[in-house]
């Protein structure tokens, strides 16, 4: 028995159950910090050294060995002479008589304290890691080579709306929506050890909802071998949505700025022309008075009176036009009603039937594609009147005026066009100015250039547009779009 010990770290024990004699080897004593024979080798002594928490387990192991022949091999803490408990492994084998009663038992005792401490430390560090990951303020998951979950953070569960524990479950079973592109990236990590990142990735979930992710995936190693994958993700859906909302706002602001710039240009034009149109007749009145003062002949008196009257009329006209424009600017929220295009056109034609007759104009219309528009009544009447009088006013002396109105409907707009065979406008030269106030492009005594400016203002105030296409000496087509609001 003593020989057996040599070169090994084992202590040997021998127990004669019949005679109740126990023997411990020198090494056995030494393992417990005693000199050989310093304490009595006995069952009671041994039991007295066992850590209270391990006592029950050792007794049970004895019993099951003796009764059921289960191998006796226990790990237990024994109190050394110093008073401190150390971890030991105790193995043994019994010998039985012909009746099957155990008569003798012998075995070994090994110091496994270092091993136990390392195991304990591993356990602590595993628990620490698990706890660290669980409470990490980020979505973290650690998976094995088969993509089964090992550790996961609470944020991960929350971010991906996962219920209960996912440990041990497969990533692709939890996320069946993961496509081949991501699987390929996982493969690159697991097989080639790549570290991959993405700053903005779209993740369409199984329920159709969309998440935006920022992620990093990298391998983790065990004894220099890739043992799995660590995923760190950041759900940035809110940030991306805010970004998109911001972009949209920005676009709206730019459009608004554009609109304001155009309105400002309109206002500048308006101020300029106002000044011009008010100053011209006033200047004339002054000049006429000057003329009469410096040359007071009856002829000049007559001339002055006639023309002062005309200048006063012009002034009145200008002031009427201006107040009409003010009204448009003020009444942007004018009530829209559903208007029948045919009815309004017929009313307009009736109101200027004299002019139409004297010009021998042919007026046709086809409103079958869109019979109605949703627009303030007074505005539509004014728009129609201006389109019609404009076409008549600038008709060609070479041919009978032929004016055609048509309408069309799309989802967002109803479109009205007015085509004539009149003088046409040189758009290359006047293109930008055509809808400006008091811009006339013909030597026509009636041309005051207010009509199209007012038409444009009325249409734009209601969210519509007006455009013109024209060829000199062939005719013009005006296209008006009305915003569909219902």
């Amino acid at each position: 028995m003593q020989l057996l010990e040599l070169g090994s770290n084992m202590g040997i024990w021998d127990w004669d159950l019949e005679r109740e004699i126990k023997w411990w080897s020198d090494r056995f004593y030494a393992l417990l910090g005693y000199q050989p024979g310093e304490i009595t080798a006995s069952y009671d002594t041994f039991m007295g050294l066992i850590h209270p928490e391990d006592e029950k387990g050792v007794l049970m192991a004895f019993e099951s060995h003796l009764k059921n022949n289960i191998k006796f091999d226990v790990q237990l803490r024994l109190r050394r002479k110093s008073g401190k408990y150390f971890w030991y492994r105790c193995q043994g084998q019994s010998k039985k008589n012909e009746k099957g009663e155990a008569i003798r038992m012998a075995g070994s005792l090994t110091d496994i304290n270092d091993y136990k401490r390392a195991e304990y430390e591993r356990e602590v560090s595993r628990k620490n890691l698990a706890s660290f990951v669980k409470h990490a303020p980020a979505a973290v998951a650690m998976l094995d080579k088969d993509m089964d979950y090992i550790l996961v953070s609470d944020v991960w569960l929350k971010d991906y709306k996962l219920e209960g524990s996912v440990i041990g479950q497969n990533h692709y079973e939890i996320f069946p929506e993961i496509g081949d592109d991501w699987k390929e990236q996982h493969r690159l990590v697991l097989e080639e050890g790549k570290v991959l990142t993405n700053n903005k990735d779209k993740f369409i979930r199984a329920d159709g909802s969309v998440q935006y992710l920022q992620w990093e995936i990298r391998p983790w190693y065990q004894s220099d071998e890739i043992a799995g994958i660590i995923m760190l993700t950041n759900v940035i859906t809110d940030i991306v949505k805010n970004e998109e909302a911001l972009k949209k706002k920005n676009k709206q602001l730019k459009e608004l700025a554009k609109k304001l710039t155009s309105q400002n240009t309109q206002l500048e034009d308006y101020a300029y022309i106002t000044s011009h149109n008010l100053r011209s007749p006033v200047g004339n009145i002054t000049a006429l008075l000057n003329l009469y003062k410096s040359d007071p002949t009856p002829e000049n008196l007559d001339f002055a009176l006639t023309n002062i009257t005309e200048s006063a009329n012009t002034l009145n006209q200008t002031i009427d036009n201006l107040s009409e424009l003010f009204t448009i600017k003020k009444e942007i929220h004018k009530k829209r009603i559903n208007l029948n295009l045919e009815e309004i056109l017929k009313q307009t034609m009736a109101s200027i039937s004299q002019e139409i007759k004297s010009k021998k104009a042919i007026i046709e219309y086809d409103f079958s594609q869109a019979t109605h528009v949703h627009f303030p009544k007074a505005y539509l009447e004014s728009v129609m009147l201006n389109l019609l009088t404009n076409a008549l006013k600038y008709s060609s002396p070479k041919r009978k005026p032929h004016i055609v109105f048509t309408s069309k409907n799309s989802k967002k707009f109803t479109t009205l066009t007015c085509t004539d065979n009149g003088l046409g406008i040189n758009l290359e030269r006047h293109g930008e100015k055509i809808f400006g106030l008091n811009k006339t492009f013909h030597r026509n005594p009636d041309a005051r250039g207010v009509g199209l400016f007012i038409t444009k203002a009325q249409i734009e105030a209601m969210g519509g547009t007006i455009n013109v296409e024209s060829t000199v000496d062939e005719g013009s087509t005006f296209t008006v779009t009305f915003l569909n609001t219902h």
């Binding site: 300029y272 000044s275 011009h276 100053r279 011209s280 200047g283 004339n284 002054t286 000049a287 006429l288 000057n290 003329l291 410096s294 040359d295 000049n300 001339f303 023309n307 005309e310 200048s311 008091n438 811009k439 006339t440 492009f441 013909h442 030597r443 041309a447 250039g449």
Partner: protein, 132 residues
């Protein structure tokens, strides 16, 4: 210079044209007053008569806001034509516009002698014709 200068009024306002003409004739400042109701009519005439200086005006009174071809567009064409004309012509802008931008713009054009805000008085006219 001739003792009987010619003056061209380029303006769409007929009351202005006649009133100014009457004033000029009354003061005997010129013996011929030509009328053009927009820039295009005036530039066409100058082109036509560029080789017969005696038919050309000595003074042009140019309005800005006119239909068809306004004062600025006329000036663009006039600057190109001027070197070919065998006569020195004084050009005044006579406009009802008091816009600073218009006045500054006119000062930058060397072909423009001065800018006069309407109504033009007999004193203004006398000064213009003295400078010939």
């Amino acid at each position: 210079m001739t003792n009987t200068p010619k003056v061209a009024l380029v303006d769409d306002d007929i009351i202005y044209r006649i009133t100014t003409k009457k004033l000029i004739e009354h003061k005997q400042l010129a013996n011929e007053v030509m009328f053009f109701s927009d820039g295009e009519e005036a530039i066409d005439f100058l082109r036509l008569k560029q080789n017969t200086p005696t038919d050309l005006p000595d003074i042009i009174l140019l309005d800005i806001n006119m239909p068809v071809m306004d004062g600025w567009d006329f000036l663009e064409e006039y600057i190109l034509l001027k070197p070919k004309i065998g006569k020195s012509i004084m050009l005044y802008i006579v406009s009802s516009s008091v816009s600073k931008e218009d006045i500054i713009r006119s000062k930058k054009i060397s072909a423009v002698t001065d800018y006069i805000v309407k109504p033009i008085t007999d004193e203004d006219l006398a000064t213009l014709f003295e400078s010939i």
